[in-house]
Structure formats: C-alpha cells, structure tokens
C-alpha cells in the first residue's frame, strides 16, 4: 500500500512542506507517491522525484492556484488509486483542501499533525490541543484512505533517502473549469511589517531600554535566537518602535513559546497581553517589578549588561 502526498508549490517555488510531507510519509514505511498539479512543473517534478518513489504530474492551467480544482483532481486520483493515506501540509492551502477532500471521500482526517506512526495496521497520529498545552494521540478509524495534514516544520526533511522515482504524466481528470472560485492575485504583506503575534520568540523591550540607540542591541539578540523584537507601550510612545510591535490589551495579544521581557515593569495591561506565553523570562533592575510575578525565570540586573552577554552566549552556543 502507498502514501500519496501533495507537492505544494507557489509562485514558481516548491514549498518546504512538500519534502516534510515525504519525510512524514516515510514514517509509515510505505511507497511514497507525490502529486504535482498546475503548470510549468518539469523542474519541480525532478526535484520531488529525487526523494519520492513516484511523481504523478497533472499539467492543467485550470488547476493552477485554485484549491477547488486541487480538491477535485486529488479526489479523482485517490478514488482511482486508493492509497492508504493522503498527506499534505496543514498550510493555508492544506486547511482549504484536506477537510473538503475528507468530506468528498468520506475519509477520517487528522489536521495539524506533529507525529505519525502505524500501529497494528491503523494510523496513529499525534496532535496538540488546548493551545499547545496538551499532546493527544489519536488512532484513525479503518478506512480505504485517511487524510492527514501535517504541521509545517515538524518533520525534518534533512535526511531524506534518495529514491529518484519515476515521473508519470497523467491526463487531467478535472471535468470542467471551476467557476465558483477564481484566483485573483497574490497580495504581499507590507514590506517591513512584522506580525509579533506569529513569532515563537519575542524579545520584548520596555522603558528600561532607555534610548533608541540601544534598540539594535535587541535586534541583534532577536537575530541570534531567531525571534522578533516587540515592546511595551512607552517604547511606542517615545516613537522608538512602531505601534504594531506593542504588546498589551490595547496593542497585541501574543502567545509565543518564549517571551523575554527586558526592562518591562509589567503593568497589568502589558501582562494581560502576554500571559499566555509558554515561557516568560524577565530582566529588570527593580526586584519589585510586577513582571517577576508572571515570569518563570528572572534576572535582577541592568538589561544593558544582560542583553549583550546573552547575545554573545547564544552565538557561541550556535557556532
């Protein structure tokens, strides 16, 4: 039996989640067949075939960027080939396609999956619930095909075995052009805009940063840990950072995995905007600062000393 995966691509680029999907499919020790849909697919097909056992290519411009067409075409292929599992990324595309496909095929579905295995012939998945606080194991019911959408970045594609599989062109099974849903255009996010609500790591600075000239120090730390710089309200008031970086009830509510609060006293409105962080570390000169009551770890010292030391240590550990 085989696992089918979707090779996702956008604007001429193959998405990383394609190879992560192959990596996830390999956990089931099965033959991996990639489905590649759209136009101008020759290059993509070769890249995917390197790691897949087989690549099915459907060239049809009516499919390009149209998730409705994707759903129908994948559905037709699955109905014909009956793979044990169809797997794709839980991306914006995956959130659109996977559930619709599961309904069409009357298949069991698991979304945002972070672990996958086979147990006694049944598919077992691991996914997080309660906003990432609990991991749950689920066993999918018996079915001809199960649909699984994996979380991006969870299945490393670093050690994929080379397969150099065959590339097969398939006639487009799309019956008619999709009229009820049309692709219009890609809208780029505004350049330079940073969405602090999406960051896993936030280096957050408060009035303790003292001067705008000290901000590059925070940026440097953020770069070193792969995070983003956010701030408390006074920093926005001083015009040192734009409003979209402000954490708090009147700014943005954030729930990063790691929140480093530098020189933030911890006014209620700020704390209410970041309490959901998995790990909070506070650095403040004032031992009585309320931020320490919500932090798991605290450093009582001048952030201007701590920040560069931390950056250096992280760089050292990384090198």
């Amino acid at each position: 039996m085989t696992v089918y995966i979707l090779a996702e691509h956008r604007r001429g680029e193959l998405m990383d989640v394609t190879f992560e999907s192959i990596s996830a499919a390999r956990r089931l020790n099965d033959e991996v067949v990639a489905i590649l849909l759209g136009t101008d697919l020759a290059d993509h097909a070769e890249k995917v075939a390197k790691y897949a056992d087989k690549v099915l290519v459907v060239e049809d411009e009516r499919i390009e960027n149209n998730t409705e067409a994707y759903t129908q075409v994948i559905g037709e292929i699955i109905k014909k080939d009956k793979p044990k599992v169809f797997l794709m990324g839980n991306t914006s595309m995956g959130m659109d396609i996977a559930p619709a496909l599961a309904i069409d095929l009357d298949s069991p579905i698991a979304t945002d999956v972070v672990g996958i295995s086979e147990e006694g012939g049944r598919i077992k998945v691991n996914r997080s619930v309660y906003n990432g606080k609990v991991l749950s194991d689920l066993v999918l019911r018996e079915a001809e095909t199960s649909v699984i959408a994996i979380r991006s970045g969870e299945f490393s594609a670093a050690d994929l075995e080379e397969k150099n599989g065959e590339i097969t062109k398939v006639d487009s099974p799309l019956k008619e052009t999709i009229e009820n849903k049309k692709f219009l255009e890609f809208v780029e996010p505004v350049a330079g805009a940073v969405d602090i609500t999406q960051a896993d790591v936030l280096i957050s600075v408060g009035r303790g940063i003292k001067d705008k000239d000290n901000l590059p120090m925070a940026e440097e730390l953020a770069d070193a840990v792969g995070g983003v710089v956010s701030c408390s309200r006074p920093v926005v008031d001083y015009d040192w950072l734009p409003k979209d970086r402000q954490v708090g009830t009147s700014g943005k509510t954030v729930k990063p995995k790691f929140y480093l609060a530098f020189g933030i006293s911890g006014a209620f409105q700020h704390v209410a905007g970041m309490k959901g962080a998995t790990m909070i570390v506070a650095i403040n000169k004032d031992i009585k600062a309320p931020i320490f009551s919500v932090a798991q770890y605290g450093i009582v010292d001048d952030l201007l000393k701590v920040m560069p030391a931390l950056t250096e240590k992280i760089k050292e550990l990384k090198s």
């Binding site: 009035r207 309200r233 006074p234 008031d237 409003k243 402000q246 009830t249 009147s250 700014g251 943005k252 509510t253 006293s265 006014a267 209620f268 409105q269 209410a272 309320p290 009551s293």
Partner: protein, 395 residues
C-alpha cells in the same frame, strides 16, 4: 442606513438640532492629538452619510469623558452619538480586534480583561480583616462594588484592599460579592455593545434582587455612573419590551460621596488620622466630574487629612483634563500621536509643586501611575487613590 438598537439615529439622538458650531470638537480631550472630530461625526449623523463609518477609525479614540455633551449649547449628546456609531460598527463586526476580545471576555469571563471569573476575588488573599461575602448568604447594609479593573489589576487591587481596611475601621456594615461580582457593563456600553449591556443590566438587577442588595458603594466612578444613569433608563426600555426585570430601587454612591456623609455625620475626621506629609493635587475623574457634577466630596475628604497640603490643577472640575482611560481606551490605543494626556497631567502636577496626585478612579490611577513613571517622576511623586491615602493615615 445608520441604525441603532434604540431606533433611528436621528430620533435617538436628536441630531437635527445640531448647528455645527464645533464647540464639541473645540473642547474634546483627544482632538488635540488625534483626528477625532466630533462636529464632523455629528454632520455624518445628520446627513445619514454613514456608509463609510468604518473608515473613521478615530471613532475609537473617544474616551467618553463627556465634555462635548457638557459644552453643547443645544443640549445634545454628541458623546452618545459616538456610542451609537460604535454600536453600528459592532453590529457590522468591523471593530478593532482588541475591542472585540475585551467584549468577548465580558461575555465569557464577566470582565473585559480576559481573566478567569474564578480569580476575581484573589485580591482578598492578603487581607488581615474578615470581609462579609453577600453572595455566600452573609447580610450587610451596603454592597461594596469593586469592579473589574480593581479586582484584577495588581496595582489597582491595592485600592480594593485599602477600601476594605478603611470601611472596616470606620465601622461600616458592608459586604462584597467576591467571585460572583459581575461586570457593571459601563465599558461594554461605551464600546457600543448595546446588546451585551442590556443583558448585564438584566442579569445584574436580578442578582442584586436575589441577594437583597439595595445600597451600593462603588470604587469606580464608571460603575457609579452606569448604575445611576444608565441602568434605570435601560431597565425602563427593557420593561417596555416585556423583559422581566425586578422592580428594585438602587441607592448608589461613589465612595467619596459616602465618605463625605460620614464626615458630615461626625464619623470621620482628622482626629482619627496620623499626619500625612505631602502636597496633594486632586485629579477630577470625568465620570464623577463632567458626567455627574461631583466635585466637592473628594476635596472635602482630602482637606480633613492633617498635614496634607491640598493644591489644585489649573484645569480642574468640569475642565479637568481627561486621562484617556475610559470609553474602551484600555483596549483601543486609538489613532492619536504625540504626548498622552496623562503625561501632560503629571507634568502639570509636577510644575504645580505636587508630590502626590490623588485620584478616585481606577482608570485614572492606571494611566497616571504609568505616566508618572514614563515622565521620570518615579522617585519624586506618588499617584494614589484617596482610599489608599486614608488607609495610610487612619489610626
């Protein structure tokens, strides 16, 4: 068409009487630092040109201080028109995310702060005195209504504790509702959630009736204002719609009014206090001053404190500069740029030679406390609620 829950906009707010004089905008506390132009919004209401309301992001800048309503020469209520506009935005779902979250939290947690209901009474834990809990069947003459912010914000919780200490020392027969205390609905109403507000009025009046509560002392002028001015009107409207609402008369006082009565009755005087050292400047909260003409009680309390040198802001009483804490602004930053009013206020206080800013409102305490640190007065000035000052001096 602009529609508000109470009926048509022009009928509800009598906007046709507006002569576009612009006094509202001229006196507005935030128009200096934001695009909020009430005269323009009034014009939109008059012309019913409200299709583009959602483009007017500055509608969320209004602090609901009410000065436009105080100054309107035609006795209109521009501040209410803004609430009506927010209502239609709420109905349409085009509101700032932070406002949405706050309103949702009132629905799910009974407070706009996103904090669990079960932690509403946590501030009581550090108290030495025993407090009656009316929701657990204990009887008391007065309900001390704490409010959401003073229940959850660690800085403001100290006011709640001070209130308990002071009222206990003064022998007042009072109780609280603990975890059962509901949101008063003032901020949801000001953020335009008329439906949610009506629900709270219905639930809360039923709750007060159930626990036999008829006399209420509030910490917050916002709760005071809504209980005294909004509840009766809303209850009347609901009754007309055949909603069953208990027929109770509430006697509500802001705590400064209550303490003034104790002074008049000889139950509170300077003899009962230790010396306080400091030059105290009183900041009039909009919801006591502009909206309810309560100017004297807080001053009377401060004046009997021995050692307190009381001075006044130039902008005081109904000219008091709004701190920008109300009208939902705790959850909406607004479009304003430049110096916050709270910063201007602490700078004024400093220039006047004050080292204590006395407040009587949780939002004022929150904004001015923050501003006095931002402006660099952390070491030289304190922002204190009047209850906190009393707790410090009462023997």
């Amino acid at each position: 068409m602009m529609e508000v829950e109470e009926g048509n906009f022009d009928e509800a707010y009598d906007v046709y009487a507006c002569m576009q004089c612009g006094k509202c905008t001229g006196s507005c506390a935030v128009s200096l630092r934001s695009d909020l132009n009430i005269r323009e919004l009034m014009r939109i209401a008059i012309l019913n040109k409200n299709e583009d309301l959602e483009k007017h992001e500055e509608i969320w800048d209004c602090t609901s201080c009410g000065i436009c309503t105080v100054r309107c020469p035609r006795d209109l209520k521009p501040a209410e028109v803004i609430i009506g506009m927010r209502s239609s935005l709420v109905e349409g779902g085009t509101i700032p995310v932070t406002v949405r979250d706050a309103l949702e939290s009132v629905g799910t947690n009974n407070n706009p702060w996103g904090r669990p209901k079960s932690k509403r009474a946590e501030w009581l834990e550090d108290l030495d005195v025993k407090v009656k809990n009316i929701s657990e069947g204990e009887e008391a003459e007065y309900l001390l209504y704490i409010g959401c912010t003073a229940s959850y914000d660690p800085r403001i919780q100290s006011v709640s504790r001070a209130a308990i200490n002071v009222l206990t020392k003064l022998g007042v027969d009072f109780g609280i509702l603990g975890e059962e205390e509901p949101c008063c609905g003032s901020e949801p109403r000001m953020m335009g959630e008329t439906g949610l507000f009506e629900m709270l009025v219905e639930d809360n009046l039923t709750l007060f009736d159930e626990f036999g509560i008829s006399k209420i002392i509030t910490l917050s002028p916002h709760a005071y204002n809504t209980f005294v001015n909004d509840y009766p009107e809303c209850a009347k409207r609901l009754k007309e719609d055949d909603v069953e609402i208990p027929d109770i008369e509430l006697e509500v006082k802001h705590y400064t009014q209550f303490l003034e009565e104790l002074i008049d009755d000889g139950r509170l005087d300077g003899e009962m206090m230790n010396e306080f050292s400091g030059t105290v400047i009183y900041h009039d909260p909009c919801y006591l001053g502009k909206r309810n003409n309560i100017f004297e009680p807080p001053r009377k309390i401060l004046n009997i404190i021995p050692g307190a040198r009381c001075i006044e802001f130039d902008r005081r009483e109904d000219r008091s500069l709004c701190c920008e804490g109300g009208g939902g602004r705790m959850w909406a930053e607004g479009t304003g740029t430049g110096e916050r009013n709270a910063i201007i206020r602490v700078n004024d206080a400093n220039q006047d030679g004050a080292n204590v800013i006395a407040v009587a409102c949780p939002f004022c305490l929150s904004t001015l406390e923050d501003a006095h640190v931002t402006a660099g007065y952390e070491e030289t000035m304190r922002v204190m609620d009047i209850f906190e000052i009393l707790d410090e001096v009462l023997k």
